[in-house]
């Protein structure tokens, strides 16, 4: 199925795609100035003399002074001038870069003349565009948008910015660019211990990982190892059905379109039907809406119920988990690896023997097997079957 926009074909404006070139040209014109520009000289080449020749180092020094930057940055800008053709190298024509030495360059006179003309002509430029006629339906849509945007609840900057800053402060020690990874950053030392200590099904997680679970329910659930630990806690509390429902609803939302109706039916039977084996406790209104929606299942039919359950876990169960013996236990047992201290010889050895790790496809296959096992183990017990088995044994 192809998307077709129903709007009338809009003529593309002549957009000044090279927004930056006006600024560049202004600088190039300044460089050419007799008094304040780059000092040129004559260059003898065989029998001819080439006027207005500039040395790369002079150009770079001028740019660094004018833009108040380091020589490196000035050199990068100089390379841009060569790349865009404002300046051309006299010697190495093939590599269009600016070198910070005695290499010689000249201005492309034509481009300067054009830039000067542009200054005069700027005011009379006519954009090759037909002024965009906004139709009444576009205005209506914009009005609908503005109205809901105005009514949408917003938060004071002090609150929202405060939250952004808090996030950074919370995760500061977990950011490998700001604080060292333990035992070491694999990209820096060529040793992948950091990854093997943090795999999906590791027995004992690291202390940093366990700390991260405490930051939010989202972090805890996103890390599947953390989710496992949370499930252990929920099992002890006999309240595993909320998380199970949330997981099932996620699968429905993100699954294939064809599997939706079967999934919806299973979910209804397991979690929502009166007397269901894993009945979830949600308010009457949400339950009513959800059950009604299940008549014609749609991908987002469980949104309201899923949100309700998630908020419940976020505001209550999550905090109880953090105070529970299950969490405190894993915190105690968690590993705190020593920082690696490799000698240059060891680093070289590491670089020559980089481990290939496990292929994600194999990991995924293992995950699917584990999931199937877990599903079979937690399926509601069919009491009648068990009873008849016991009877037969008798």
């Amino acid at each position: 199925m192809t998307i077709r926009t129903t709007r009338p074909d809009r003529v593309q404006h002549f957009r000044p795609r090279m927004h930056c070139l006006k600024k560049v040209e202004a600088i190039v014109v300044e460089m050419q100035d007799q008094k304040g520009g780059v000092k040129g000289s004559e260059q003898k080449l065989n029998v001819t003399t080439i006027p207005h020749v500039l040395a790369g180092s002079d150009i770079i020094a001028w740019i660094a002074n004018k833009m108040k930057t380091t020589p490196e940055e000035a050199q990068a800008f100089g390379t841009m001038l060569v790349a865009y053709g404002y300046i051309y190298p006299l010697q190495n024509h093939k590599k269009l870069v600016m070198c910070n030495d005695t290499s010689l360059y000249r201005f492309q006179v034509e481009s300067i003349k054009a830039a000067l003309k542009q200054k005069v002509a700027n005011r009379s430029i006519v954009y090759l565009s037909i002024s965009q006629k906004i139709t009444f339906d576009q205005y209506r849509r914009q009005n609908i948008f503005y109205q809901q945007a105005i009514m949408r609840s917003k938060v004071k900057s002090s609150v929202s910015i405060g939250a952004l800053v808090k996030y950074i402060t919370t995760y500061k020690n977990h950011d490998p660019f700001l604080a060292p990874c333990l035992p070491s950053n694999p990209w820096q030392t060529d040793h992948d211990a950091y990854w093997s200590l943090n795999t999906r099904r590791v027995d004992l997680p690291t202390k940093m990982r366990v700390e991260r679970w405490s930051f939010s329910l989202f972090e805890l659930l996103s890390d599947l190892r953390g989710r496992d630990d949370f499930k252990i806690f929920l099992k002890k509390e006999f309240s595993g059905e909320n998380l199970a429902f949330w997981e099932a609803a996620e699968e429905l939302k993100l699954g294939t379109a064809s599997s939706m109706s079967t999934k919806a039916e299973t979910i209804f039977k397991t979690f929502l039907a009166p007397g269901a084996p894993r009945w979830i406790n949600i308010d009457g209104r949400t339950m009513g809406l959800t059950v009604k929606g299940l008549d014609h299942p749609h991908r987002y039919v469980l949104e309201a119920a899923q949100t309700h359950v998630f908020l419940l876990m976020k505001k209550d169960t999550f905090f109880r988990y953090l105070k529970s013996p299950v969490y405190k236990d894993i915190q105690k047992k968690a590993l705190n690896p020593e920082t690696h201290n490799f000698s240059p010889a060891q680093l070289e050895q590491n670089a020559n023997s980089r481990s290939p790790g496990i292929h994600p496809i194999i990991l995924w296959q293992q995950e699917e097997e584990e999931k199937a096992k877990a599903a079979a183990a937690s399926a509601p017990v069919d009491v009648k079957a068990v009873m008849s088995k016991i009877d037969r044994k008798k």
Binding site: M1, T2, I3, T5, R10, Q12, R15, H19, T69, E73, A76, F77, M80, D137, Y139, N143, I144, Q147, Q148, A149, R152, S153, K154, V155, S157, V159, S160, I161, L164, V165, Y167, I168, Y171, K172, D175, P176, L178, P186, W187, Q188, D192, Y194, W195, S216, F218, G255, A257, D295, H296, V301, E303, A304, F310, R354, P356, G357, P360, I361, L363, W364
Partner: protein, 395 residues
Amino acid sequence: MCDQTFVAATFGPCDNCTTASPLMNIYIKNEAINYCSFCVEVMACQGLQKGESLANLKRECESLKKKLEEERGKLNDVELHQVAEKVEVVGALSIKTRRVLKGHGNKVLCMDWCKDKRRLVSSSQDGKVIVWDGFTLNKEHGMTMPTTWVMACAYAPSGCAVACGGLDNKCSVIPLSLDSNENLAAKKKTVAMHTNYISGCTFTNSDMQLLSSSGDGTCALWDVESGQLLQSFHGHTADVLSLDLAPSETGNTFVSGGCDKKANVWDMRSGQNIQSFECHESDINCVKYYPSGDAFASASDDATCRFFDLRADREVAVFQKDSIIFGASTVDFSLSGRLLFAGYNDYTMNVWDVLKGNRVSILFGHENRISRVRVSPDGTALCSASWDNTLRIWA
């Protein structure tokens, strides 16, 4: 977390046609109503009523726009740099190139990391898509697409497939295999079909759904298995150049940026455009969410990167310098959100301190413009793709 998307009624019977479907939350004469997207379209397109004219619709539009600015202004009680004064400075960073991935014969246009934190997929102008193990520099798969300019590529969350698209106006999903010699291009499946080039694509939180953005001005959500269009997103008035999915617990929104200088936030369920920001002076080349999902950054041809707070509904920072003249083509945040890595068309990358607004570092190394910068999933490394045919991994 943007509470609005949490609490609003999002699915149920439409107030107009009573069909059960995802709902848009809109207002008619200050009264909140929930219409399905079809009814909203019908309402927008109905002929001019008695007393309505193009002129007064335009007037209403302008006054509503002004009112929105006023409402936003009322909540503007503090600036980012003021709150950031209490935060300590970022220490000196020593970021070096750790790997150079050579193998593409032409400009590398896009790359994406795999969730295993070491593999990545990259696509180039000549139609080649390569899957690498960045750690060992091993090229695991190489596929040739029947199109040039493969501008978008993405790795599936399971690590079992990749998606790519470009000038062919299609986005295809290719399942990967353990056998490097297998001809994977033969198994590719066309999922997205637009009427203009594909500029960006990403999987949602599963392998089964794909979000795409296109030069035809729309974004779309697709079911991978059947190729069915699940939702389309209309609102941009020019090419959409980039999109990013929100990393939030509900995962229901995404942001897109385009040549109309606007960055729009969309609700994936109903297709509704819930927020819009028009602050840039030129095309927006890239948008990326802040790790908490409550803000996002954008990179533009106007040589600035901007930071937008979604809950306060406004721009809170502009990352610019007089000496930075060339457009920024790509941005990404570090794991904590403190650092913003931006790739520019002058072959360099600048590292900005998000809170204090100053540039912390500048990274040289590429010999042509940077097309894409991405931090690895565990934040240990940064990968940059460039028109100089190489990718570099920095740490």
